[in-house]
Symmetry: C2
Subunit: 411 residues, 2 copies
């Protein structure tokens, strides 16, 4: 492989989805942004849509805006279903945060397996997932069976399979590991879980918009995901949830809110949820956030997951090649990775600060890891080249040592 910057420029010139970068608000072209897996960039259509939604719809139509907003969370769910996840209309809806959705769907799954007493997850699952499951297990007197996972290699499907028996109600895992980017084998694990009669709940926060998600192929039951990473919907934008069509009327989530109610505005006496994905809604949807997801998901759907995934694999392979000699803390095989790549270094925190000081934005993750998000919609090969060149220089010269060693807050 040619390691010159010229080569990166050539790759960018040949990139079939390179022009999508022009669809984003990029005020500083010199900034090398390698954290789109924490917070995606602002699409221009989102900026415009939000301005209209704020001034014309909220400001001008006022309460009458609800005529168009009332079903928006489901309509945007359909865009994600068809354009991002490859599932059917009516199987995805926007609602709440990923954590609240995990709680709702995990509770619903446990209610559907009342005679079973075990929840399976892994010890490398994202903290909020582990905490939610821990809380549910405690509240219901269930056992949380936490399978050990190598934090760099990711989930071993054989280990998950070994943990399964007919007392397992629910298997809840992340599809792409938040730290290493390791991709879990959704098909193998879901098949194993179904073999013992357990339901599966997948966290797609680091998958949606970056990798194909085999919900349909695997027969996965439930999923949640966030929209502010690869779907570029802005900080704290509403999350989505997926419930396989055949399961929807069988499951009932625990927070009985009026946005799940049949004939909502009759304000009837008892809770009687609709027989569709809307029963997994709770309260009034955040309209501005829902619009931001609409625009972000549309761009993703337009680029298409095959092209996005192909480019993301090329970008991460390129980063790994340019980082040869560094301690890779992600699977080396691109077929086993999502769209970010992680390196281990004892001074990762300081290196992270040194990179920021040089206009490169990576992410730090405990323990001692530097995580590089390579969002394929707007990350260029030259961004990878520039970022890796500065990283190598910072490490080679030891210039990171002038930065404080104390870890701080990053999301």
């Amino acid at each position: 492989m040619d390691l010159s910057r010229r080569y990166a420029e050539t790759r960018d010139a040949q990139d079939p989805i390179g022009h999508f970068r022009t669809r984003f608000h990029i005020p500083d072209e010199r900034l090398v942004y390698l954290d789109g897996n924490s917070l995606g960039r602002l699409p221009l259509t989102t900026r415009d849509r939000l301005r209209d939604a704020i001034e014309q719809e909220w400001g001008g139509e006022l309460i009458r805006g609800w005529d168009r907003w009332i079903d928006l969370a489901g309509q945007v769910g359909d865009v994600i279903a068809e354009g991002v996840l490859g599932v059917g209309r009516g199987e995805v809806i926007l609602s709440d945060s990923s954590t609240v959705n995990l709680f709702k769907l995990a509770s619903a799954a446990l209610d559907a397996r009342p005679d079973r007493s075990v929840i399976v997850t892994d010890d490398d699952n994202f903290p909020t997932d582990r905490y939610v499951l821990e809380g549910l297990a405690k509240a219901r007197g269930l056992r949380l069976r936490t399978v050990e996972t190598d934090i760099d290699a990711g989930i071993d499907p054989a280990r998950i399979a070994e943990s399964l028996d007919d007392d397992v109600a629910l298997v809840c895992l992340s599809h792409v590991a938040y730290r290493s980017g390791a991709l879990a084998d959704m098909v193998a694990i879901t098949t194993a879980a179904h073999r013992v009669g357990a339901l599966t709940l997948w966290d797609l926060c680091h998958s949606a918009g970056s990798v194909p998600v085999p919900l349909r192929e695997s027969g996965a039951d439930l999923a949640v995901g966030c929209t502010y990473k690869y779907l570029n919907a802005g900080p704290g934008a509403p999350a989505f949830l997926y419930v396989r069509a055949g399961l929807q009327t069988e499951l009932r989530q625990p927070i009985w809110g009026w946005f799940g109610q049949r004939d909502q505005f009759a304000m009837g006496a008892g809770y009687d949820p609709v027989e569709s994905i809307e029963r997994f809604q709770v309260g009034t949807p955040p309209v501005l956030g829902v619009y931001a997801v609409l625009e972000g998901a549309r761009i993703t759907a337009e680029a298409g997951l095959p092209r996005l995934y192909a480019k993301s694999a090329e970008l991460s392979q390129y980063a790994i090649r340019l980082g040869e000699g560094l301690d890779l803390a992600s699977p080396a095989d691109p077929a086993r990775r999502g769209s970010h790549v992680t390196f281990h270094h004892p001074q990762a925190w300081q290196i992270c600060q040194a990179l920021k000081a040089q206009g490169v934005i990576p992410d730090f993750r405990t323990p001692q890891r530097l995580r590089l998000g390579l969002a394929p919609l707007y990350t260029r090969f030259v961004d990878v080249w520039d970022g890796m060149a500065r990283l190598r220089d910072i490490i080679a010269t030891g210039s990171y040592r002038e930065f404080a060693a104390e870890p701080g807050r990053v999301t």
Copy 2:
């Protein structure tokens, strides 16, 4: 009382908070908007703040924006605490929707009274509140004791008191009734609940920003409220929750999310919630919505609840006076009302449509009720005069009969 429009103009000229109307985006001055209790208007500072938050912070700072966003939900909670609710810093935080917050706090309260088996509410409580409590009662094998309330007169504190015994864990009621505007006696009810050792949870959706809320005076334990009504934070903006300082470490909410975790970014193994209001947070806060609440709450705090409540009482008394002969479906005494007033009419739905066709925006509520929200920050006496004049005319001429009789969706 002088019933001429000139009188309304004079009252507007003398209104000590009349100038606050200029702080809002009002593209159509002819529109008579009497639904600010469903969706408040857009403040100009919110429009500007959101533009900056979208383009400069999200678009420009990207992930670095979290340095300023991470504690924003609590900072805005403090603005609501001090400027809107008259409670202390650290007692209020923004999080989720009102419904999700109701679920969280009701669950927490029930966990704190494990030997009690009854939840008390009333049959006129807002549907989502009733549904949440119904769901919790069912999941935990508790009884939901639903006290009968006159839908126009509001909650009778004596009836609530009669329903209480030492098996009651929680009393959950709305402070201002969503239909009639009737104000519940928070002090009397909380005192009675505490006498039997029950906790109280108040829904402040129709109170926050319109009436003084005696959380402190009553010793109320818990409260939730929405921000898109009188706090003018936009459709589906994040809700707030209140937990009395002395109770915070005693209670633990059921959705164990990473935004409640001590040393959140250590990503530690077990859930260990912080000892403060942040433990009632769950997932990543919706930053744009939180900023909108900040600006909306600031304007409310600047006008001040005493002036807002005084004006709201004057506006609703004026509407009732101009509506003499109509069937009032709200308490006649302004001291017993929030900031909206409701009339009963068998053809309320048609009248509602007829008013909209004439540029007056009221709200319809089952059964057969026309609800007029008189948000004191921007509603003028001439708005009330114009709205009521058209209402009287529509009823007198029977012109509403040309509109379809079928009720549709309104929030």
